[in-house]
Amino acid sequence: MDEKVEAILGKYDHNKRFLVSVLQDIQREYYYLPQEILVDVSEALNLPLSQIFSVATFFKAFSLKPRGRHLVNVCVGTACHVRGATRVLDSIEREINIEPGETDADLKFSLEAVNCLGCCALGPVMVVDGEYHGKLSTAKVVEILKGCE
């Protein structure tokens, strides 16, 4: 077993009730949940693989496929929606050719629609690689995305 995974399991005392937390740490470390690691977790926590798979597919935090280098989170919370988030999302989708929940073929961008980033005054907002961009327009969106390597 990968030593990083071993460390994560150790952090939670190999206690099966911390399954969600274990998976989150793995997601953060590997940017997704690799199948082999989930098999290891199933054995280590003495939980059926089917349960691991259920939990991994239930929660939005987890991705079973590798994510892109640049994570684009678009806020589609109500306040941003009312300020035109749909148009912003449309222009993002047009620019990078994927829909929320997807990663492009080059593993460059992953797009997620999220609900409320807590900065409604800036709406519509998107976060690219942890950096916030607010008061978005179609033009601004294109500029920001084109600037990502």
Binding site: L49, S50, Q51, F53, S54, T57, L64
Partner: protein, 247 residues
């Protein structure tokens, strides 16, 4: 055991504490329809078809009869207007999801629904996501080969990573309990195939009559987990000298 007395559709019935309303109704000969329910498995309360109206302390509400416990003085209505509205609504939605499933067509027809009010995304869909197969596999068989995955409209039954199951023992409990026939199990010659989990098993041949009676994998599993006489694994159910109770 403590006894409680309640009324269902105006008729009094006394049952043991812990009995569910659906069981109590059954004792009165009232069969409340249900799809995700089976006596062998813990109730789940997902299909909502078995909902009834209860009146307690002057307040009325709708509950699932498969889960709600019998209580002293409880008043139950299995066919009130609200109940029928929900029951009809559930059947309309299920029939719209799986328009070609016979049991749904029959149930819907019994409530006057002749055609699905909404268009099916996939007219060949047969699974109503009742969870019986996953529940029996996990709770009774103990193998957990399949589970409910994803959520919301994407919810479905699947093996891990939707690949061939490497823990399924081919017992067929899933197919046995499936209310719609969505689990496709086929016994052909000396093979058992469960198409949904992409598994194929070699069936054991009865030493006495030559009939193929159970997957070898299932027998191996029983051998490992239960204390049974050796002939249990060599002879089919009909040919066994001693029947084992409560296996």
């Amino acid at each position: 055991m403590k006894q409680v007395t309640m009324t269902i559709d105006g008729v009094e019935v006394t049952v043991e504490e812990g009995t569910t309303v659906i069981q109590a109704a059954s004792e009165l000969g009232i069969e409340i329809p249900a799809l995700c329910h089976h006596d062998a498995v813990t109730p789940y309360g997902a299909c909502r078809l078995c909902m009834v109206e209860i009146i307690k302390n002057g307040r009325s509400r709708l509950v699932t009869s498969c889960l709600y416990p019998a209580e002293e003085g409880l008043e139950v209505k299995t066919g009130s207007e609200k109940v029928l509205n929900v029951r009809k609504g559930v059947l309309e939605l299920l029939l719209s999801r799986c328009p070609n499933v016979k049991v749904l067509q029959d149930l819907a027809a019994s409530m006057g629904i002749t055609k699905p009010p909404f268009e099916a995304e996939n007219a060949d869909e047969e699974c109503i996501v009742c969870g019986l197969c996953a529940r029996v596999c996990r709770d009774i068989v103990g193998v957990s080969a399949i589970s409910l995955v994803s959520r919301g409209t994407h919810r479905k039954i699947a093996t891990p990573f939707e690949e061939t199951s490497n823990v399924c023992i081919g017992c067929g409990s899933c197919a046995f309990l499936c209310p719609t026939g969505a689990v496709k199990l086929e016994d052909v010659g000396d093979k058992r195939i469960i198409h949904n989990w992409k598994v194929e098993f070699k069936l054991k041949q009865c030493k006495s009559c030559g009939r193929y009676f159970a997957p070898e994998a299932q027998l191996d599993y029983l051998r490992r987990t239960l204390d049974l006489p050796e002939d249990h694994f060599e002879l089919c159910q009909d040919c066994r000298v001693e029947t084992v109770e409560d296996v």
